[in-house]
């Protein structure tokens, strides 16, 4: 089995992709709730699937995840992952009650808006035509959700994950964004960014 590796220059470039995407998502979230939103330093990691999932957090923690499948010039997933405290705060900040139909719809819509912003930035940056499909929300154990999502794009033991976390000022509201490109498609992104191998 050939395990793809990425150079530091390539990983830096991919981190920058995550940075630009999540900055745009932060701007969208800030506009939505009328509060300042920070972005954490993003990470770009190519690693075994198991490591990517086990480092994400406690496997049985129930998280709400909104996934946006991406088609078009490349296949990828954008995931917005919310821990319980973040879910509760996010609902409160947009004025809906958590664990209600309205609350659930609001989170899907939030994921959709932020995910579309993230992808829009990537599209502009790379010139790749990225088409988001309708978002889907799943609330379940972290490990169950992430494994199932990452396997769709990894199809193998190795996966590349771009991760960044937003933080609403003064609130325990820290949604995490994961961008998971299909393995063969990472090269397309790097090529568009004119990053040499």
């Amino acid at each position: 089995m050939v395990v793809p590796t990425y150079s530091d220059v390539q990983l830096d470039a991919l981190r920058e992709v995550a940075n630009i995407g999540s900055s745009r998502a932060a701007t969208a979230l800030s506009a939505l709730i009328g509060m300042p939103v920070d972005v954490s330093t993003p990470s770009a990691n190519a690693m075994p699937l198991v490591d990517a999932i086990e480092r994400a957090g406690p496997g049985e923690m129930v998280v709400t995840t909104v996934v946006i499948p991406v088609k078009g010039a490349l296949d990828a997933l954008v995931l917005m992952v919310m821990q319980p405290a973040t879910e509760e705060a996010a609902c409160r900040l947009v004025g809906v009650e958590v664990d209600t139909d309205v609350g659930r719809s609001a989170l899907v819509e939030m994921g959709n808006i932020l995910g579309a912003s993230y992808l829009g930035a990537l599209s502009t940056l790379t010139g790749l035509d990225l088409e988001p499909e309708p978002p889907e929300r799943v609330r379940d154990m972290l490990r169950a959700v992430l494994t199932s999502a990452l396997l769709i794009e990894a199809h193998d033991d190795q996966v590349l994950v771009l991760e960044s976390t937003l933080a609403v000022a003064g609130e325990e509201c820290t949604p995490t964004f994961l961008f998971v490109p299909r393995r063969g498609n990472v090269d397309d992104i790097l090529e568009r960014l004119r990053v040499p191998a």
């Binding site: 889907e136 379940d140 169950a144 959700v145 494994t147 199932s148 999502a149």
Partner: protein
């Protein structure tokens, strides 16, 4: 959590004949937890299967693949003295957590379950209980002492399987 609880990581595999032991694996989505129980010797084994098929028969983590997981569990349980004819299997997991196009196209959960079923059938091991498919995350615990397999789905815990009581549990702790 019991002090004698062993948590298997993803792709992990363990067997035990110690009646104080509990083997656990958590957060199964498309992955499949394969438990094998031998009531007569109260030996149990558990594997956390991620993929249907190993790239080769010799892999570092046999628990990760359906075919090598079943083969390795059988070998390890035989080493503990379990006859293959007395083993029963319990399967948990194999869900499809998402329903968008590619999630349906690459239904790893169903593929994993089918691969485990095939490996068990080839070894003539009956499946005595199961909680597979659907779109829910699950955890399972295998209690070596009394041959109970407990299931966690969502917020609820339940007993999925209990080894037949006609067979004596030597050294069981409860």
């Amino acid at each position: 959590m019991s002090p004698n609880e062993t948590f298997l990581g993803m792709g992990g595999l363990a067997v035990t004949a110690d009646s104080s032991q509990v083997l656990t694996t958590i957060g199964l989505g498309s992955c499949v937890g394969v438990a094998l129980l031998d009531p007569r010797r109260h030996a149990v084994g558990l594997a956390h299967v991620i993929f249907p098929q190993a790239p080769s028969p010799e892999v570092d983590e046999p628990g990760k693949y359906a075919d090598t997981a079943v083969a390795t569990l059988l070998t390890a349980l035989a080493r503990l003295g379990s006859a293959r004819s007395s083993l029963a299997a319990v399967l948990v997991g194999g869900a499809r957590m998402f329903s968008f196009g590619r999630a349906i196209e690459f239904d790893f959960g169903a593929t994993n379950v089918a691969a485990v079923e095939q490996a068990l059938a080839a070894a003539s091991i009956p499946i005595s209980a199961r909680a597979t498919g659907g779109s829910i995350g699950r955890s399972l615990r295998v209690h070596a002492g009394d041959g109970v397999v407990s299931l966690r789905e969502g917020r609820g815990d339940s007993e999925l399987y209990r080894a037949p009581t006609g067979q004596r549990y030597l050294g069981a702790t409860r």
